[in-house]
Chain length 692, copies 2
């Protein structure tokens, strides 16, 4: 079997390509990894890596000192940098380089979570849904998850409990985290240094990004003591060196059937790409209107460009005949094995046929669900707050088990923290996002859909967006707090135009969600669960699940690749960065980094590529060597790697890392961060060569 | 065979759905049409319809009086209206309603062509390419076409000769036209009346658009005498009434193989839709910046929105399992018939396999061809002029047969007329378009493609676009004329920054075209020709060819349809328009039309749907009844109809027409165009009921 299929797709670990797999820490194939890499890691090594790994709300991170210092990517703290900045003092332009620990500044709403325990709750979760279907099934499951989480974590602000669905329902695990809510920015380079090459170099390699930042967790206004941390090294990784990446990859769809994937190819991806492409255009023009708009749009635009390029890579994967043939063959093999097991077949029926039959309804209901619920208001911060305030008020009036899942008792504190976080808002941006969203929703649902009348009344999208965004006072944290604490009575009595709008459209947005969950999601979940059981029966239990935003470990080597006759080396240096700079955006050097050019050894390794299995959410993941030293942080991959949403392709799948060697050089030579270098244990070593 | 296949796709006419087919006038199935419709048209009827039909550079039209008056769509004269307008006096807002013929105004660059002859030149054209391949094949063919055109039309400005490729190379015909270059606007309603419902109602039915305009052809400053014209009627068409639509549909791809269509689905359409979607976003934001920008962007934006929505319909068709199964079955039937003909197979080989093998190269080369050549500068008028001036100067230095086809001796006058047409330009718009184009080209070709360095040098797209567009003087017709007449020496000596830019990038843009024509187009043409021969052999000669922008006749009935359980009636009235108006854009009534509401009989039929076979380019096509009277003008179809690029679907294929009944009512009651009503022969008849 070994490597017969080009895309191995979650078969038994012995059949998978050496580097494939985003493994859970409680099921990591230690022996296979050691065999493949020639290493000798053990359970104690794994435990140390796990305890030094962390996550933010959307990125990964690694603890690198005993005093709560944490390495992640600059792009993972970009929102924090923006929140701490003003158009006059923009740390994205200047870099954030406090002279001492006392000047580290709190990131509004940012959290750090460290995994402390994994417990199996599969039996309870499956029992909760037994015999139910449609919305009743979804609600019973959500309620049980809420109960499990509350039982363990209660409302303890310092812990987080999360019931995680693995193998698309094959397993449910309770993940318990230690949570830190006072997260301060300790260092961020100039954004231009982190994102050199901008959107053009994003998702590519060779790469020249110093996409690293340091944050620190505090409690009671003092740094948290973190004896479990990675040892920092400024020795660069070498080609073919084994490397492990520990992080929280967001989502893969490797367990989807071919029928489900065709829906992604034909409907989901084109829908998403097309509408975001238009918002991108609006934001590009908005950005060009003034220096202030350039500042305001930066964060939203880079997020959209990142998603868009990822989508391009995925579209390309789904029309790649070689890649899709691999998936097809894997599904055929799976079905053959199941067909040969009469007892299993009797038990689970034909989940492939069930899922295939569901696709017509999926295609019918997904657009409204996506537009009205998943992506309502196109990321508008003010709208998001209004929606959270309104829904929390409505949901709190019900017993926890009957609420929308994210407003259950155990999950409510996370929502509250987001709503009350102090961050600046820019109504011009929210107006643009809301107006775009109303227009695209009307276009996709068509103007004669009664829900559109409910959304718009007789107003045009632009007029409505201008009215509610210019009139709202939700930018004021005190106003949000009063509404949050005032509950449903306060919300319903509010004359804030955005609150009134969001209240009025609840039947529409909740309705789209209910329709989708009831007629698509529940049946999909049940069929997927049957598939998961079949998969365990066919291939044994040594499988890794789809990524779910929870801590995973992937292993591989520092490695380049060959594509269309071109061989790419796995390392870049500062010399390459200087050579690539043209002076024109986005290939202009960051001033402080450029000024350090005479001092930074040109052969310092800046970025490396590795054959590890990572995806969005892995950003910031610590990359460690077999000795457990941190050698870099994952910050990207390539366009060709985007197919790894659907399957691991050993020929082209590459993670892109920024090295600790480069971070050390930058801290030392460009940003003068002596106190951090000392804390990382690399402060004095090269002191004799320092020029400032 | 009859109607066994849901999509009948150009099989013998007896097998085709009654309404299917964009037939050439020299091969119209008179008997079949009479049989299907119960009519009694004959060759004389056909000749009269042909002689009263006309085309503009991108639309169709019908002659409606003996003094050169022509009916087309408002959207077909939108560019003319924009050119005649200023931000202060915007005829798109006001309507263009001259009080007398003397106030009719010339449309810059606009032409009218009336077909006068069709001659078969297949033998000459096929002989010219025999034994050649690659670029030599393409060039020999182009040269022969140029010779044929020159031999017949010379440089006679009043005639146009065009060698037309039919059946994708199965036939070549010389089409000869009488050409009129003094075209004046006689009437255009308020744009809001024509485009009521805007982009939202575009490509839909029920529909409420007064999308009609009248133009007049002049020679020597006097109206052209046009004894061959359609009789105007204000009697509305009735359900199931037979109707014929004569026009110049632009392009269909019904003869593509399934392998070719997969390339359209997977690559061509997504590429195009995604980039235009972003430009749309930029233009929407641009439009919102000021009243002047709203005026400037209107024409470009509505064109993009139209193409985008058409693309959505096509994407939907290509993932419609029922529709694609029909095409698949048709191809299988065709291949079976050919396989049964051993002699034919020996002669033509396997063109399906040839075309399938070409798709990898097509997918590789098309993006650069599309970005660098087909859609260079995203429609920028100033760039287009610069490119025409530069290329004409370069090409005129060569013998006609060796030039890029569109600069051959016979075709040069058309280019010259475009370059010298006096029309306003708006550098802000051109800057936006050029900047967008440079950015998207860089994104798609990737920043490391050496052609990108050639395009941009060390400048950013924005800076380059601003520099060349703010510095160019090509907006001045005298400057263009001087460069045109000065030829290569003047062009090479010019310091105009746009001319210099366009000169510098010729190797890149011409190179992308050469690559595509050489490695893709020529081989595609040869295989398509083999398929055409096979098709004639398999199904006889009574076929219609793919649309090619040349005059066609389609027949059908006034008819609604049923889709997803909803039945749509085929007629709308002014009463429906009043009811649909909300007051908010784009559902706000045009003021002058709204003011006429008390006078226009509410049951006047406004729009109708018909089962005729039309596509983009058919806009403005006269719809005539069996008596040869003009009852309307085609102006649109529906989103579901967009699949007719790939096949006729009788269940949903519908043309949307504006009735002459509605045009009469508007001329009479809203716009006070007495002199035109008299000319149309409907001036006096209802005079007693008129209130003004």
């Amino acid at each position: 079997m070994r490597r017969i299929l080009f895309v191995s797709l979650l078969l038994a670990s012995t059949a998978a390509a050496a580097e494939e797999g985003m493994w859970t820490f409680d099921n990591f194939p230690i022996a296979a990894a050691n065999r493949a890499l020639g290493t000798r890691i053990d359970q104690a090594w794994l435990d140390r890596v796990r305890m030094a790994s962390a996550r933010t709300s959307n990125c990964s991170a690694g603890i690198v000192s005993a005093e709560g210092l944490i390495l992640t990517n600059e792009h993972c703290v970009a929102t924090c940098v923006a929140n701490l900045s003003t158009p006059e003092r923009d740390y994205a332009v200047l870099g954030f380089t406090p002279a001492s620990r006392a000047e580290e500044r709190r990131c509004p709403g940012m959290i750090i979570e460290v995994l402390t325990g994994i417990d199996d709750v599969t039996a309870r979760m499956q029992a909760a849904g037994r015999g139910l279907s449609g919305q009743a099934f979804t609600q019973a499951r959500d309620a049980e998850a809420g109960r499990i989480e509350s039982e363990t974590c209660g409302r303890d602000e310092t812990r987080r409990c999360q019931v995680v669905t693995l193998y698309r329902g094959g397993q449910f695990k309770l993940y318990t985290y230690r949570r830190y809510t006072d997260v301060r920015l300790a260092f961020a380079p100039e954004h231009r240094a982190a994102a050199f090459g901008g959107d053009l170099d994003n998702f590519s390699f060779p790469r020249f990004g110093l996409d690293a930042a340091l944050i620190r967790i505090y409690e009671n206004d003092a740094p948290v003591s973190t004896p479990n941390h990675f040892r920092w090294t400024e020795a660069p990784p070498t080609p073919e060196q084994p490397v492990f990446v520990a992080g929280s990859p967001g989502a893969t769809q490797r367990l989807l059937t071919q029928a489900q994937l065709m829906t992604v190819r034909d409907m989901t991806l084109p829908l998403e790409q097309l509408i975001w492409s238009e918002l991108r255009g609006r934001l590009i023009r908005f950005r060009e209107e003034s220096a202030e708009n350039r500042f305001i749009a930066a964060d939203a635009l880079s997020g959209i460009e990142n998603s868009y390029k990822r989508g391009i890579g995925r579209m390309r994967a789904l029309i790649d005949a070689r890649f899709m043939a691999g998936r097809e063959a894997a599904e055929a093999d799976f079905r053959r094995r199941v067909a040969g097991n009469a007892e299993l077949t009797r038990e689970i029926g034909d989940p492939w046929a069930d899922l295939a039959a569901l696709q017509a309804e999926t295609r019918r209901l997904y657009p409204a669900f996506y537009m009205l619920e998943t992506r309502a208001a196109g990321g508008s911060q003010l709208f998001t707050w209004a929606n959270q305030i309104v829904r929390a008020a409505q949901e709190r009036a019900r017993p926890s088990a009957e609420r929308l899942a994210e407003y259950g008792e155990a999950r409510l504190p996370a929502v509250q923290r987001q709503v009350l976080a102090e961050r600046p808002t820019y109504p011009a941006l929210d107006t643009l996002q809301l107006s775009w969203w109303l227009e695209k929703t009307r276009e996709i649902l068509t103007v004669d859909d009664p829900r559109i009348r409910r959304l718009l009344g007789d107003e045009s999208p632009e007029a409505l967006a201008r009215r509610v965004m210019s009139g709202t006072r939700l930018g004021d944290p005190a106003v949000r707090r009063a509404l949050w604490e005032g509950g449903l009575a306060a919300v319903e009595a509010s004359d804030d135009p955005l609150i009134r709008f969001v209240l009025a459209i609840q039947p529409v947005t909740r309705g789209a969600r209910r329709d989708y969950e009831d007629r698509v999601q529940a049946a999909t979940d049940r069929a997927s669960e049957a598939l998961a059981r079949a998969r365990f029966a066919a291939y044994g239990t040594s499988l890794y699940p789809d990524a779910t935003g929870t801590l995973r470990l992937t292993y591989g080597r520092i490695r380049g690749w060959t594509s269309e006759g071109r061989t790419v080396e796995p390392r870049t240096t500062f010399a390459g960065l200087w050579a690539r700079a043209t002076g024109a955006e986005p290939f202009d050097l960051a001033p402080r980094l450029a000024a350090a050019r005479p001092r930074i050894p040109a052969d310092t390794v800046l970025n490396v590529s590795a054959s590890t299995d990572t995806i969005g959410g892995s950003s910031g993941s610590p990359a460690v060597n077999a000795a457990g030293e941190i050698v870099g942080a994952n910050f990207d991959s390539t366009v060709l790697t985007q197919r790894n949403a659907y399957g691991y392709d050993p020929e082209v799948n590459r993670s892109v890392l920024v090295t600790t060697a480069a971070v050390t050089a930058a801290l030392r030579h460009a940003y003068g961060m002596e106190h951090l270098l000392a804390e990382l244990g690399v402060g004095g070593r090269r002191g004799g060569r320092r020029t400032r």
